[in-house]
């Protein structure tokens, strides 16, 4: 056994061997005599490193003979271990690359050699030839495969550019020749197949080359770009330079890859490479095409080849992803104008093929899900194809009208079929038709289907719009049918329960199947009917609008409204139900689902319901309401009569539906408090209803809304059983609703119902004589916590037009909260929540506040910090949660300070006059800036920070970010700080620079530089800031002094005159450019540049030592 020390010792020997000077003769000797593979490997590495390091000193001839030696060595020893051989070839490649610019060493002779090797017909030799080419390619690609040889990006870029114009083409031609040769052969034995595979992989590598644009000087940004390229080489689109025209526009090249694939498609490894080559060819674009015509010819040929390849074969599992990549690349790369210029027949058969492929991949993907496979190749392929469809149909005006309708119908149908249970669908059916039904544990981290499959659903929804005539009635019919069945099933269960009264005996299989059907139908309907653009007002999709308009003449508006207004009845039982607007009928199908759910809860069947379905319903309604409710005719060129009659502003329909949605929300909140996600989606629906003034105006006219407000204010069941986040959002919604249009009496009454009880209860409680005695009682604590939660909710409701009143309301509480800090100083969970209220208020409101109001907020925040500090300073807690509690408090406090500081760069108070009339203008010049406040705040909490607490990475980060922020924005404030604060700030900086992570020290250095500039500006030498900064600079300067010493030692130890001169020159030019030190940006850049040059130039030399 080898001990650890022995191993380390051995490693050390090799490492120092690799650093030895001019090891060439020794290495050659080792290579020729040693039998130990690992030693051979190390010798090759040593040669490579030494050549790069001692490049300047080597003669061209000796380098060339070294290359010849290495190549001959490898050729003569076919039985070398693979890793040794590759290492030697790597050395060759590195040497060639290093020499390609300044010593005119080129690949020509190597290529000559290689083509001879290839023509030898000996598989081993041919593989070796391939390895040589691959090594060169990797080295020159300037990608993550490239060795690190300590040269500038510019060097790598220039080498690459030179290489791609000539040598790369040469490699590609050699590769193509080999592939051609092999593809002509009838039978390939295993050995030949291996060679074939090597060259195929090489071809793939060439086609994945990330081409640099020719002949131009790199800008700084481009340099960054190439650096990024070093990191990633995946998904490069093929964009060759114009000089590649003859090579890649030759149809025979493309044909060859189709032929090759046909030949090897059953070998899954090779098939991956050949399909990837084709996918790269399908992504070709750029200057290689002289004109659009050339592009068209190329695309037509590609498409024909592809269709020939796909039709007439049964696709292997391993081909699915590759084929979908080809299609996806093709559709996203070629411009619409080229696609539409294709011969009609060709385009039609392409679309037809794409349709069949999509449906078939979809079915296979469903099978994969049933079998719970780890590797979901069909799902990936299906995703790709759906993405391609989306790209295609999003710009469908370029294509002949209606050309995508039939394909869309087919793809849509197959999607629905895969997601419905038997007999209508095939969900959970294995290939031989056996149903599988497993219930797995799903944790909260697993995304909901609507997010998990959002891309798929968006594509399917889009296709559904394209074929609205078919898809909307289809969804409606299926959903109505499922709802009727669900209703019947629940009724049967109810009777059954009344008979036996044991819910455990209920078989949920039928129910769960119905729920799952409904789940998918609602998701697809939601994605079809509406988009969910973040921030903007979503519009009714034009296809849906057109569809509704097209049929509006056949529609009876009254029956439509009747259908909409009677969610408790079966749709088909309404006379004339077939003459109703289909878009409205789809919505009303969802409302019918919702009604069945609500009735079941009233019949105490909640246990049997699916919370998932409940979520789907409110999710749909929310998405729908954002787009359709109170549809604004001004936003549309043309509007459908049924839609505007049913949902337009000032319509009974709109009022009715708002009332209905409100009732739904209230019902959900009372029966589903135990389902956090569902309650959350529900309350979000409520927020949607009130966040827009127009909708809120209707909402506040509903009696139910007032009931909800009263009920919530009274803190009685069931609303108080909701989780705290839901309660917060509910409070937010209630406050938002208060800013709807109401006459002043009503408004007063509203606030009296919503906000005043909160205040009243709170004041009554804390003003009780014995509050100090009862404050620890649970009921009291609960009440306090509920109030604090509500305050957070109120703060969240802040908008520019309500900030004035909300601020005054909250301010009263904030002062009381400070009292609570005293009372509950021993109750960390309450303290934490109190700080959170302050954080929320500062976060939401500070940017709108004028001077006086800001001052008030600053003041109260500072008092909070003082009290917190007083209660915690010198306190020692040793219970289990102590550290965690303190960490959370401090994190919130840092957040609070950062929020306050944000006033300095986000301030709407000057432009927006929300406080006009209230604010007494106090003349020019702000007395106290946010920075003062924050610095003062930092001073208060600083003593509470300990090095242990700084071990919480997020707290540490937040803290140093805050400090750096302050120094960067207000370097002039720093010298004016009180002495103690100044000292502790400087201590923090020192601590950060010396004993924290590199990220933190970087932050500290960033903080330091504005401080140093501040010193330089004022030119006063005895200010404390100057002294402190000098201290820091000294820390850094010590390094510099060491540096000079190091230089001296290096130079004196250097006996070799050539190297001595080089080093001395290099050091001189390094320091020359950096004196005299000014703060000019140009100077800094110049210094950085010479530093870079220096490192590249002598870095290798210094290592010789």
């Amino acid at each position: 056994m080898v001990s650890t020390e022995q191993r380390q010792h051995a490693e050390h020997i090799f490492l120092s061997f690799r650093k030895s000077k001019s090891p060439f003769a020794v290495c050659k000797h080792i290579l020729e005599t040693s039998k130990v593979d690992y030693v051979l490997f190390q010798a090759a590495t040593a040669i490579m490193e030494a050549v790069v390091r001692e490049w300047i000193l080597l003669e061209k001839s000796s380098i060339e003979s070294l290359i010849t030696f290495l190549l001959t060595y490898v050729l003569q020893r076919p039985n070398l271990q693979k890793y040794v051989r590759e290492q030697i070839l790597l050395a060759v490649a590195v040497i060639v690359k290093r020499g390609s610019l300044d010593k005119s060493i080129n690949c020509k002779s190597i290529f000559h050699e290689v083509s001879q090797l290839i023509s030898s017909g000996n598989p081993t030799v041919q593989t070796l030839a391939c390895s040589i080419l691959t090594a060169l390619l990797s080295e020159f690609s300037s990608s993550n495969k490239t060795s690190n040889i300590g040269l500038s990006m510019e060097f790598h870029g220039s080498c690459k550019r030179l290489f791609q114009e000539d040598d790369l083409k040469q490699i590609f031609m050699l590769t193509v020749e080999v592939l051609q040769e092999f593809s002509r052969r009838e039978n390939l034995n295993a050995q030949m197949s291996c060679v074939f595979q090597c060259y195929l992989a090489l071809a793939n590598q060439v086609l994945s080359w990330n081409f640099l644009p020719p002949n131009h000087i790199l800008s700084c940004r481009e340099v960054m770009h190439y650096i990024a390229m070093f990191e990633a080489t995946q998904n490069v689109m093929l964009k060759p330079t114009a000089s590649w025209r003859e090579t890649l526009l030759d149809h025979r090249v493309m044909d060859l890859f189709f032929t090759v694939h046909r030949k090897i498609r059953e070998d899954s490894d090779m098939a991956q490479d050949s399909l990837q080559c084709l996918a790269q060819l399908a992504s070709m674009h750029g200057p290689i095409f002289p004109d659009e015509n050339a592009q068209l010819t190329y695309l037509a040929h590609l498409m024909e080849g592809l269709l020939n390849m796909i039709n007439g074969i049964e696709i292997e599992d391993s081909e699915a992803v590759g084929i979908s990549n080809i299609i996806n690349n093709l559709i996203s790369t070629f411009p619409r104008s080229v696609l539409t210029a294709l011969p009609n027949e060709l385009f039609a058969s392409f679309i037809n093929c794409l349709t069949l492929l999509t449906c078939s991949f979809g079915r296979s993907a469903a099978l994969e899900e049933v079998l719970d496979k780890d590797d979901m190749v069909y799902m990936e392929a299906y995703d790709k194809l759906l993405e391609s469809w989306l790209t295609l149909v999003q710009e469908d005006e370029h294509f002949p009208r209606g050309c995508f309708v039939q394909p869309a119908v087919q793809v849509f149908n197959s999607y629905i079929q895969c997601h419905l249970a038997a007999p209508d669908g095939t969900r959970n059916l294995t290939a031989n038709g056996v149903a599988s039904h497993e219930e797995e544990e799903i944790n909260e981290l697993q995304e909901d289907d609507r997010e998990l499959f959002s891309d798929q659903l968006a594509s399917i929804g889009m296709l559904g719009r394209i074929a609205a005539d078919h898809c909307i009635p289809l969804l409606t019919g299926l959903l109505e049918n499922r709802v009727t069945r669900l209703h019947g099933q629940l009724q049967r269960h109810q009777q059954h329960l009344m008979a036996s009264a044991d819910p455990g005996t209920v078989d949920r299989k039928v129910l769960d199947d119905l729920y799952e059907d409904i789940h998918w139908l609602i998701l697809v309907s939601g994605y079809l009917l509406a988009d969910d653009p973040q921030g903007e007002t979503p519009l009714i999709p034009s296809e849906v609008m057109e569809y509704s308009i097209k049929h509006s003449t056949e529609v009876d508006i009254n029956t439509t409204l009747q259908l909409l207004g009677s969610p408790g009845e079966k749709a088909t039982s309404i006379p004339g139900c077939n003459r109703t607007d289909s878009v409205i009928r789809l919505l009303s199908a969802v409302l019918r689902t919702s009604e069945v759910e609500s009735r079941a809860t009233r019949a105490s069947l909640t246990e049997l319901l699916s919370p998932q379905m409940g979520k789907d319903i409110v999710w749909f309604l929310r998405r729908w309401a954002k787009t359709y409710l109170l549809v604004d005719e001004k936003l549309y060129g043309q509007i459908s009569m049924p839609l505007s009659t049913a949902f337009g502003a000032d319509t009974e329909g709109a009022q009715w539906i708002v009332g209905y949605l409100l009732e739904k929300v209230i019902n959900n909140l009372s029966v589903w408090s135990s389902e956090p996600d569902l309650a959350n989606d529900t309350v979000e629906l409520l927020v949607t209803l009130v966040e827009k003034r127009e909708r809120a105006n209707i909402v506040v006219q509903c009696e139910n809304w007032w009931n909800l407000a009263k009920q919530f204010a009274s803190r009685s069941p069931p609303l108080h059983m909701l989780s705290s986040t839901v309660q917060r959002t509910l409070m937010k919604a209630l406050v938002l609703g208060g800013f709807a249009h109401m006459d002043s009496d009503t408004k007063q009454q509203y606030w009296a119902e919503v906000l005043h009880p909160l205040q009243q209860r709170f004041l009554n409680l804390i003003n009780q004589e014995n509050f100090a005695q009862i404050c620890q009682e649970e009921a009291v604590k609960q009440e306090i916590i509920a109030t604090l939660e509500a305050l957070c909710g109120i703060a969240e409701a802040t908008q520019i037009d309500n900030v004035a009143s909300l601020f005054s309301f909250l301010m009263d509480f904030l002062s009381s909260c400070i009292g609570l800090m005293e009372v509950y100083r021993n109750s960390p969970e309450t303290v934490n929540l109190i700080i959170e209220v302050f954080v929320e208020v500062a976060h939401k409101q500070i940017c709108y506040l004028g001077e006086t109001k800001s001052m008030k907020l600053y003041e109260v925040c500072l008092t909070l910090l003082q009290v917190y500090s007083k209660n915690n300073l010198g306190r020692k807690r040793l219970d289990v949660a102590a550290e965690e509690d303190q960490y959370q408090d401090l994190l919130l406090i840092m957040e609070l300070l950062t929020n306050l500081l944000s006033k300095e760069f986000i301030d709407f108070s000057d432009t927006d006059e929300v406080f006009r009339g209230q604010e007494q203008s106090s003349g020019a010049g702000r007395a106290v800036s946010a920075a003062d406040v924050v610095l003062y705040g930092v001073n208060i909490v600083l003593p509470l920070m300990s090095q242990d607490l700084l071990k919480f990475p997020s707290l540490c980060n937040q803290y140093y970010k805050l400090i750096t922020f302050i120094c960067e924005i207000f370097p002039e404030k720093i010298p004016q700080l009180p002495e103690e604060l100044f000292k502790s700030l400087m201590c923090s900086l020192e601590l950060g620079m010396t004993s924290m992570s590199s990220e933190i020290s970087q932050l500290c250095l960033e903080a330091l530089s504005p401080l140093a500039e501040q010193c330089a500006k004022t030119q006063e030498k005895d200010t404390p800031l100057f002294i402190a900064t000098r201290h820091f600079l000294k820390v850094k300067m010590d390094d510099l002094a060491e540096y000079s010493e190091l230089v001296e030692t290096l130079l004196s130890n250097q006996r070799d005159a050539v190297i001595y001169q080089r080093l001395a020159d290099a050091f001189n030019s390094l320091t020359a450019s950096s004196t005299p030190p000014t703060m000019d940006r140009k100077q800094k850049v110049a210094f950085l540049k010479s530093l870079e040059e220096f490192v590249a130039n002598v870095g290798g030399l210094l290592c010789v030592k």
Binding site: I442, D677, F771, K876
Partner: protein, 180 residues
């Protein structure tokens, strides 16, 4: 010396040690009774069986006295017991009698009941209440905190001791130097 049995009635006689709460309303950092022990909730997550199943709540708590970890999982509609937690500050001083005056912002009529630590015996703290009664049932905490109390007591420094109580169990958990 007082009878140990009597000491259980100190504080809120009659108030129940726990009260029920629906599982879904519990929150992280809050408290719950797990396996009969008062715990601070340090982790809370939900899960369900099957896509259409109902939520279950999974809780991890730390015993507020022993620091031991407990876990439980239950349907989110169920009620869980929540312990009544009390934290009182006791002033420790040597000889003289102090009353902590709160610098409360808005409450003027508020003051903690104070106790005088008159000695440390056999690992128990002796505290004198306002009423003149002595309670000697509070164990001297082990480890650093105990040492700290002892040294502060010996040095005659004025300090506050925070006593945590829940479900008929009490422990000193923190000390703080009194603001002068």
């Amino acid at each position: 010396m007082a009878d140990a049995d009597l000491d259980f009635t100190i504080g809120d006689a009659g108030a129940s040690a726990t009260y029920p709460m629906q599982c879904s309303t519990l929150r992280k950092n809050g408290f719950v009774v797990l396996k009969g022990r008062p715990c601070k909730i340090v982790e809370m997550s939900t899960s369900k069986t099957g896509k259409h199943g109902h939520a279950k709540v999974h809780m991890v708590g730390i015993d507020i006295f022993s620091g031991k970890k407990y876990e439980d999982i239950c349907p989110s509609t169920h009620n869980m017991d929540v312990p009544n937690i009390k934290r009182m500050d006791y002033q420790v001083c040597n000889g003289e009698y102090y009353c902590t005056v709160s610098t409360s912002y808005i409450f003027t009529n508020f003051c903690f009941s104070t106790f005088q630590l008159i000695g440390i015996q056999d690992g128990y703290l002796s505290l004198l209440q306002d009423s003149g009664e002595v309670r000697e049932d509070l164990k001297m905490p082990e480890g650093d905190l105990g040492k700290e109390i002892e040294s502060k007591f010996d040095a005659g420094e004025e300090t506050l001791i925070t006593v945590l109580s829940a479900m008929n169990e009490e422990a000193a958990v923190a000390i703080k130097a009194m603001a002068k």
